[in-house]
């Protein structure tokens, strides 16, 4: 029996039980769609986090105060104590000590109420140095950034994030205007170009940048908030990131007089930030994917069940086909093709449903769904495999039926 005839015969048999075939297929369809969508959601979330973190800058290392993990494995409060100083930042920026570090920016932050005229907006005020713009890979859409001169003179100048501008100036150009922070008047000298709001990190488009020295004297005067909260380090290249990491770590350990186990700071790379941020997403994806996988398994049992019923119902037909010359192999093949056709068509329809879901879901979830061609191909492959595996036992039973038992005239 030719392959074409086997398929024609199998489709004929499936067509003659339309409803049953459709319901069985639905089981696989739902399972495949669920698996593809959950994996797609997980991958979409990961891609989103990845792009958020890459927005922080390139070849970036981040130093925060406080230790991460004690020897007992208990995570310490990162950023709870202020142990970093501007001296640390200056030392890290010294080329002779750390040749693989290109630029360093120490930041101090404080939540402050910022006023422009009668408009009032609470946002993050960041005190830092001119290198911040380079390290964080930020451009200006208007005006200029904080200069070294501003820092030296402790000038009351501010650079605003694009959303902050929208909130405070309602579309008017803010450059040259003045804003009031903590009772002091600041002149707006520049506006940061928007990079898009982020969900996993602080809103990078809503902040006010002021010179470090001005921050210490006017914004957070006489308070511990003047301490450095984060030091951003840019390595000279992707290749030297590890070397820069080692240099920064050794330098800070020496300066603070501590060892790795008693470190009072945390040094993380973009990679490790990424890993932390995606770890939960991945766990969730695996969990949901597992649940979806179970529904796929149930779908497979549905195929096996239907094929068994089909064999029991068609004992006479099988007997007749055997009497007319169908070999056991031909009978087995026919039932396997029926089962795998159910699996594959369920898989392909499930893929289409998942595709539709991927197009519609982001509108409701504010969450991208990414379906890779590899995942799509794997889904169809898996559904074929499911059909074949689910069909093996019923097909074997059909192949073993003795024609005389099948043909009894009663």
């Amino acid at each position: 029996m030719s392959t074409f005839d086997t398929f024609r015969s199998a489709f004929g048999a499936l067509r003659s039980h339309r409803l049953r075939s459709a319901l069985t297929m639905l089981g696989i369809l739902i399972g495949i769609a669920a698996v593809i969508l959950t994996v797609g959601l997980g991958q979409g979330a990961q891609a989103q986090v990845q792009s958020e973190i890459s927005k922080l800058g390139s070849n970036l290392l981040v130093v925060t105060p406080g230790s991460t993990t004690s020897s007992t494995g208990i995570r310490g409060g990162r950023g709870t104590s202020s142990t970093l100083t501007n001296g640390d930042a200056a030392a890290l920026a010294t080329a002779s000590v750390a040749p693989d570090i290109r630029a360093v920016a120490a930041t101090s932050t404080s939540m402050q109420s910022v006023t422009a005229g009668t408009t009032n907006w609470t946002t993050t005020v960041v005190g830092t140095t001119p290198s911040w713009a380079q390290v964080r890979a930020r451009d200006l859409s208007a005006g200029r950034f904080v200069t070294q001169d501003d820092v030296n003179q402790a000038r009351p100048v501010a650079v605003l994030g694009s959303e902050t501008v929208t909130e405070l100036f309602n579309g008017r150009s803010p450059v040259g205007q003045s804003v009031s922070i903590n009772g002091s008047s600041f002149t707006v000298v520049g506006v940061l170009q928007a990079i898009g709001s982020t969900s996993t990190t602080a809103n990078e488009d809503d902040q006010v940048i002021v010179p470090q020295t001005t921050f210490a004297t006017r914004v957070a005067a006489n308070s511990t908030r003047a301490a450095v909260s984060t030091i951003y380090i840019e390595a000279t290249s992707q290749a030297t990131l590890t070397a820069a990491y080692q240099e920064a770590k050794a330098l800070l350990l020496t300066r603070h007089g501590v060892t790795s186990t008693t470190a009072d700071f945390t040094l993380s790379s973009q990679q490790s930030l990424l890993q932390t941020a995606t770890a939960t997403d991945r766990t969730l994806t695996i969990l949901l994917g597992g649940v979806a996988g179970i529904s796929l398994l149930v779908g497979a049992l549905g195929i096996a069940n239907m094929m068994l019923v089909s064999v029991a119902e068609r004992v006479r037909e099988i007997g007749l086909r055997k009497a007319l010359g169908a070999t056991p192999a031909a009978v087995r093949q026919q039932f396997l093709v029926e089962a795998s056709s159910l699996g594959v068509s369920g898989g392909v329809l499930g893929l289409l449903l998942a595709g539709a879901g991927a197009a519609v879901l982001p509108h409701f979830l504010a969450q991208p769904v990414r379906i890779s061609p590899a995942a799509a191909a794997a889904a169809v492959g898996v559904s074929l495999l499911i059909g074949v595996v689910a069909g093996v036992y019923p097909a074997g039973r059909a192949a073993r039926l003795a024609p005389i038992d099948a043909l009894r005239n009663d």
Binding site: M1, S2, D5, S9, G12, A13, S16, R316, E317, L320, R321, K322, A323, L324, G325, A326, T327, P328, A329, A330, A402, P403, I404, L407, N409
Partner: protein
């Protein structure tokens, strides 16, 4: 002069059920020559059905030999038997055994499908076989749209389509009224007249009377008194 189409030598079939063993066939020997039209008769429990299964290569004997068209088929595997059934034997059953979802010519082409005959040739040969049984105008009718007699004619066409050595009919008129019975028996007679070898298994005397000779089976043996010629 060629040998017999079909030759049984001391064929036994023993069924073992627990401690009990029953000889359904207790040593049957017979020859059927090409072009013969033979009726096999016997009451129920005589071993008639078992004989039919062995003749049809649906089952193998416990001992003895069965040669069909010069080939010993008594020790063949299931796959080999399937091929012999496909090429050498045309079956006609009591219950017609047509597939209800397929039209007449699709039913008739089934044996050719398993023989691997290409589609165009299948259709041609199926049409020719249906023409042969007088159903040339019913090619696309499904079994449900045909009368009992017509359905059995389709089944006969299916038995003819592979040009087999033997047509084996098992109670072919059991489900038919007297008019259709006469119709089908007339068809067998016609086929016999054209040189076909036919074995017809029945329990009805008047059906057996249509054959050239009658073999009677009783208690698993050929009943000599019944007049095996």
């Amino acid at each position: 002069m060629t040998g017999p189409v079909l030759s049984l030598r001391d064929v036994r079939k023993t069924y073992v059920m627990g401690d009990l063993s029953v000889d359904a066939l207790a040593g049957v020997s017979m020859d059927v020559h090409e072009g013969e039209y033979v009726a096999v008769m016997g009451p129920s429990g005589s071993g008639k059905s078992t004989l039919m299964h062995i003749l049809g290569c649906l089952d193998v004997p416990t001992s003895g030999t069965y040669e069909l068209a010069g080939t010993d088929v008594s020790r063949m595997t299931e796959t080999e038997l399937a091929e012999i059934r496909n090429r050498r034997i045309g079956f006609v059953f009591q219950g017609f055994n047509l597939l209800p979802s397929l039209n007449a010519w699709r039913n008739v082409e089934l044996p050719l499908l398993y023989a691997g005959v290409p589609r165009d040739e299948r259709r041609q040969r199926a049409a020719r076989a249906l023409d042969r049984v007088g159903l040339a105008d019913r090619l696309d009718h499904r079994p449900g749209e045909l009368s009992g007699g017509q359905q059995q004619r389709v089944a006969v066409a299916r038995a003819l389509v592979t040009d087999p050595s033997l047509i084996l009919a098992d109670e072919p008129t059991g489900n038919l009224d007297s008019r259709s019975t006469a119709d089908v028996l007339g068809l067998f007679e016609e086929l016999s007249g054209a040189g076909r070898t036919i074995m017809l298994i029945t329990h009805e005397e008047d059906v057996a009377a249509a054959a050239q000779r009658t073999v009677r089976i009783r208690d698993g043996l050929v009943d000599q008194a019944g007049g095996a010629a």
